[in-house]
């Protein structure tokens, strides 16, 4: 295990940056692409995770704990957010009988 980890240095930090950027953008694309609010929500989770990954990477390479602590808090918030968000979605589904984001237009005027 230790040896395995020793070799991580071979992966440049840039690669983590590229990876998380890519994941983030896929998340953005997902939000734009889909109309199902649940999938949109999941894409948002994806974006959050992309950022988390980057934070952990930075934290590890800089040897500073704050990044990881922050990720920890992000997870906490994400959990809370998902609980409330899904609650909202269920509410909306109950009222509109759909999770299509286009059904929610009543705030237009």
């Amino acid at each position: 295990m230790q040896e395995l980890l020793q070799n991580v240095r071979l992966v440049p930090m840039e690669h983590y940056v590229w990876l998380s950027s890519l994941l983030f953008c896929i998340g953005v694309m997902g939000v734009l692409l889909r109309r199902n609010t649940i999938v949109m929500f999941m894409s948002i989770e994806l974006m959050l995770n992309a950022v988390n990954l980057l934070l952990v990477a930075f934290s590890a390479y800089a040897n500073k704990p704050e990044g990881e602590v922050f990720v920890f808090f992000v997870m906490v918030v994400a959990a809370a957010e998902v609980a409330v968000g899904l609650g909202l979605l269920v509410m909306i589904y109950r009222n509109q009988n759909t999770t299509d984001s286009q059904a929610l237009q009543t705030l237009k005027w």
């Binding site: 020793q6 890519l22 983030f24 953008c25 896929i26 999938v39 999941m42 994806l46 390479y61 609980a83």
Partner: protein, 165 residues
């Protein structure tokens, strides 16, 4: 060897992420997302952040995604009930996302990288070290999160009730 693990994990996470957003059936999306999260947990281990890796699996894969799955099942979603977007909208979404990626990449290219150490030498990700930081320096925020959870719980329960009477 490790780099191969890294590239493999990266490949899995990107692929599953793409599948998440492209799968017709929301149930599949959820399952792909769980896979994606597992691969991310693998990255955490590579970065010597074992604690976070575990927490990640428990919170995301264990709690959040189960919640998602539960809701998807509850609402009885499948590929047929999935709303469709016009081609033009899809195209613009892809272009927007792609150009965002381009812009970010260009921006980060210009960024200057500070000298770094190997993540293997950092032991901050270990439970002991992270626990120390968390309970010494970040005690107050840590405690406050409990309030956040409480309020989220209350909110979720409130929203979940059928009618307010």
């Amino acid at each position: 060897m490790t780099e191969y693990i890294f590239y493999f994990l990266s490949f899995v996470s990107v692929l599953t992420a793409l599948l998440v957003i492209s799968a017709r059936n929301p149930v599949h999306s959820v399952l792909y997302l769980i896979l994606c999260f597992f691969s991310i947990a693998g990255h955490y281990i590579l970065l010597n952040a074992q604690f976070l890796a575990i927490v990640h699996i428990i919170v995301y894969s264990g709690a959040i995604m189960v919640l998602f799955l539960f809701v998807v099942m509850l609402l009885n979603m499948n590929a047929e009930s999935e709303p469709k977007k016009p081609m033009f909208a899809k195209l613009s979404a892809v272009i927007a996302g792609g150009s965002l990626f381009l812009v970010i990449v260009t921006a980060l290219k210009k960024a200057e990288m500070v000298p770094v150490i190997s993540p293997a030498e950092s032991e901050i990700g270990l439970v002991k070290n992270l626990g120390k930081v968390l309970f010494n320096d970040f005690l107050l925020p840590f405690e406050i999160t409990s309030v956040l959870f409480l309020s989220a719980m209350v909110g979720a329960v409130l929203l979940g009730k059928k009618e307010l009477d």
